[in-house]
Symmetry: C2
Subunit: 280 residues, 2 copies
């Protein structure tokens, strides 16, 4: 199986539409149809059900979509890491990825501490959207990530725990619940405010009454405006102005910040960064 065939199939499987997929791939529709047909013939497997109203994935097609994405990520990682290995000194020695707006204090302490180590290399910091860190590690765009359990999955990664913290309820300043010394998750239903809706993996939003949000800044602004409430780790306190009140939550699951990297990484710089992180 060639990566070209995989790219083609993944595009069609994601778009569920040959025309759009061809557009995305920058080719015409007929070669795309033929390439996917040929892939199906060579595998001896029907991947797509062609109805007159677009296409649908078969069970085997769903498997190939998942596995094919992983394989394409692995190929992309091979290419990027090879280029990086040959890059002249001075280019970033390590790329660290984390969610925008999370663990900022921990991150800056880590970067400072690591930079002070003898033999430290340059560290590029990449900020990505919610839950995208794993992808960055798997396709080689990053060498190491900061993740937050239980929100982010660490399956298939090597990790070290850095920090565990409780969570706070964030409410608009002056909200009635603000007077309580602490809260439980059930109490938030009494706030009269809906919880925000975060995007799913595919970018769409679940249905519900709350506002759609995709980063923390946006969320904090919506809380201050009295449109929503949120549950966030204690470390957000540093970012709060007096228009938002924080109340400890007794029964919210604790959040653990972990440093994660792909298994089989063979980099001294990475090992040193991880060691520095665990010593913080």
């Amino acid at each position: 199986m060639e990566t070209r065939e995989l790219r083609y199939f993944v595009a069609v499987a994601e778009e569920l539409h040959f025309g759009r997929a061809a557009l995305r791939l920058g080719i015409a529709q007929p070669p795309l149809s033929r390439a996917v047909q040929q892939l199906e013939r060579r595998l001896g497997v029907t991947l797509l059900e062609r109805g007159s109203r677009g296409v649908a994935l078969t069970g085997a097609g769903a498997v190939l979509l998942r596995e094919g994405r992983a394989a394409l990520d692995a190929v992309a990682a091979a290419e990027r890491r090879t280029r990086r290995a040959a890059a002249p000194a001075g280019s970033p020695g390590l790329v660290l990825v984390t969610k925008a707006g999370a663990s900022t204090e921990l991150l800056s302490k880590l970067l400072d501490a690591y930079a002070a180590e003898p033999g430290a290399v340059d560290v590029d910091v990449v900020l990505c959207g919610i839950g995208e860190q794993e992808r960055y590690l798997r396709d080689g765009r990053a060498d190491v990530a900061l993740l937050h359990r239980p929100f982010d999955s660490t399956a298939g990664l090597d990790t070290e725990e850095l920090l565990t913290e409780g969570q706070l309820a964030l409410l608009p300043a002056g909200h009635p619940l603000t007077g309580r010394p602490d809260l439980r998750l059930d109490d938030l239903g009494l706030s009269g405010l809906p919880l925000p809706r975060w995007p799913r993996d595919d970018g769409s939003y679940p249905d519900g009454p709350g506002p759609e949000v995709h980063d923390n800044t946006q969320l904090l602004q919506l809380i201050a405006l009295g449109r929503t409430v949120a549950v966030l780790p204690e470390s957000v306190r540093a970012h709060l102005h007096d228009d938002i009140a924080a109340v400890p939550l007794l029964d919210a699951p604790p959040v653990t910040t972990v440093i994660a990297w792909p298994p089989h990484s063979r980099s001294l710089a990475l090992a040193q960064l991880v060691r520095t992180a665990t010593r913080l």
Copy 2:
């Protein structure tokens, strides 16, 4: 990067010889030279140093060898798993891989217990060489493996521990050390017998006085013949005849048998097998 280019490069990087690599790939040498050159041009990276006496890997080439193998495994896994997903009922629902001659009691108990579960699917058992299990999981030849820590690496796999056991010194019957109630690792040096040499990942053997072995049967025979001594988990006891004596080792690291599978596996049958295993 196309998988064809990766296959070609990996073949050359492994053989360190264009002619042999071409033979292995079933093509002539000139197209192979050109394909690798083109790969280097497109990556903008020198992968091989061509000397008049064969070729050598550059640093970037070593990276691409490692990452490229992983990528090719991922592509192979995508292909195999897709075929399996479309295979008619009756074909093996799960493939389990383990080292030949290890954990046989545990394995047969597991297979019996799982087969008795409602909704159990057929389980194929594949026996492989030392340390090959991880490869089977990564390239899709197997769905689940039995591994033995600390010998096998479980990096990048999801695991559950099944059994931890101490290790025994295996000596020829009648050997002087046989009289002792227990031993320490250092004592084995006094046995007058060398330790056996296991193959490395690349199939070659380290230098040393001991005999070369590649499986347990061979090893036990050599012990019985008085040619070597070995350190093995307690569960080998069941396979010993009276020509071999076993003495507990006080300071050998305990061996843990774990059941392991690729992260992100989405199979009910696998989950049920793992649950059965942990309940044994």
